[in-house]
Amino acid sequence: MSNTLIQDMPLKQGKRQRLDKPELLAPAGSLEKLKFAVHYGADAVYIGGQKYGLRSNADNFSFEEMREGVLFAEKYGAKVFVATNIYAHQEDLDGVADYLRELENAGIAAIIAADPAIVEMAQQVAPKLEVHLSTQQSTMNWQAVQFWKEEGLPRVVLARETTMEEIREIKARVDVEIEVFIHGAMCSSVSGRCVLSNHFTDRDSNRGGCCQSCRWKYDLHADEQSVMEPGHNPFTMGSKDLCMIQHIPDLIEAGVDSFKIEGRMKSIHYVASVVNVYRQAIDAYMADPEGYRLRPEWVEDIGKAANRPLNTGFFYAVPGAEEHIYEEEEKPAPYDFAAIVTDYDEATGFATVQQRSPFRPGMEIEFFGPGGRQSFQTIVEMTDMEGNPLAVARHPLQKVRIKTEKPVEPLDLMRKKL
């Protein structure tokens, strides 16, 4: 934002400078994913620790991994946030203070919290940790945002129900950082206000136990009978995934400070592809707002990694019939993640890659890297590490060498056309 007024003003103590460029905030479900998210252009990543996050998952970060992640991110000037976004029950409260101190020690920049118990504890015991109010608090009006600002929070993640118009007003009225989700799956309920899983399976959704019961199939009954007729799809509460790639200028002009991508459970391929696309779009707009054009390959590239149907959520209208998933729309993606480039030999033009799904000579593949570098080719020459020709790369994590038509770089990804 070329807001000269703000830039010329001396920085007052305690007053945050507005971010020049919106932050691109990506999910990282593991250390490896963190590295890819940062390498592909995320300004910040959010991760889950061993406790208090809504994705209970074996891959969640240990403090040791957090430290390593923070060091890696620092090299790129990127930050690491930790989601502590559960609504705690009594039994969860005891360890919170120690946990937050550990996060602070590990160099974590911010926590994302919804429960005031955690918000307040962080402010008391870990003053260097920023506290960002989670979307789980479902904040969608400017006075509520004002409240949290006055409580000392530098950033509010808005509810996914907030419209573009409402975001503009919030930004105009309250001087606090605003983060919004721009891509990924979402609760169809108001965040925090769904306990379907508690009822169906005794798993607490607000502590990470959600089993996505909203996507299950239901029969809608009126007057004691089903409204379904032969050939009808059943009722569901499942929403299409959010995708705002077509509306980057709107989001930037509304003053959104942080663009958040959902998906801590998603693959490296997904995170790298989606981050790569949004990075390019944001950079292109900031470099030349007037000349900005949406590039069709951005939309295409998102489609190569994401197979769920997409929509724009509440930004422009209340989601209707078209925005929910009543029939199987999960088209298999036209591409599949095949390998990670670990080395490239300029002299021979051979890349060393680590296998992530089987491939063989004759297959059409694509290499891509940060900044939208992309090359398409057919696999012609492929050898093992000793140089013996290979008919197929069958084993996970197996290293093989492929002759590339264009130079590639370590951490570039290779996907295969299906």
Partner: protein, 283 residues
Amino acid sequence: MLIGESRFGMRQPGDILSGDLKSAVLIAHRLGAKVYVNMNKLFRNDELAALPEYLISITEAGGDAIVFGDPAVLMNARRHAPGVKLFWNAEMTGTNSSAASYWGRRGAARAVVARELNEEEIGDLKSKAEMEIQVQVHGATNIYYSHRNLVQSYLEHLGKEASLVRRGVDRGLFLVEAERPDERFPVYEDDNGTHVMSPDDICLLEALPELVQAGVDSFYIEPLLKSEEYNETVLKSYRAALDLWKRDPGAYKFDNLWLTSIQRLQSSERELGFGFLYKEQVY
């Protein structure tokens, strides 16, 4: 007594508009009852302008408390209804004593706790929160709330008449999950979105002494989706039980008639149960 209107409160069984607040409060006060006004909705920017006037009308009507979930209500109440008590009700997300105390220090006199807590958690919460707590003891519970119009969206998808949408509570719409054909989940849409309700009713009548001893200050009966006769009967049973306890806890004896009179009117499709009171949940 909890009253209000859907412009401000979530899932009111009927609207008592701001013009009628005064007479409603008068009637209740004359009978020795308190009136709490429900403002626990999550508000949007364009709904904020109505808050000050409504808060003033609650003050003028002599309302005994204002129930809030959205901090915007708290901010406005400090200015426009400074003399009226505040109760915090964030539905599913009122789960621990520190959060309750947090709102307590910001003006809330009472916390309404989540219906998904068990008895031990309720007792623990109460002992640490240093404020009044309210627990729902009877009726249906909301288990899913969305700002989407899910019934309308689905019917549109089917190409059905919009008239089938039937906005409002108790219009005979149910969801049945494919694997659980015996459970019927009431669902309805109103101006605030889509609400899915539990397929069974909680009934903590037999647990009342335990809850009283755990320090619960207020027992809430949810009247939604029930007939007047049913609600009256439920009220009478709980009233009788609490009065008997109050008179002499030592001589308290559960009267099965309290329960059977409710059971007699209970829909055969909705089981009465203890909700989450004795459950352990995982995550």
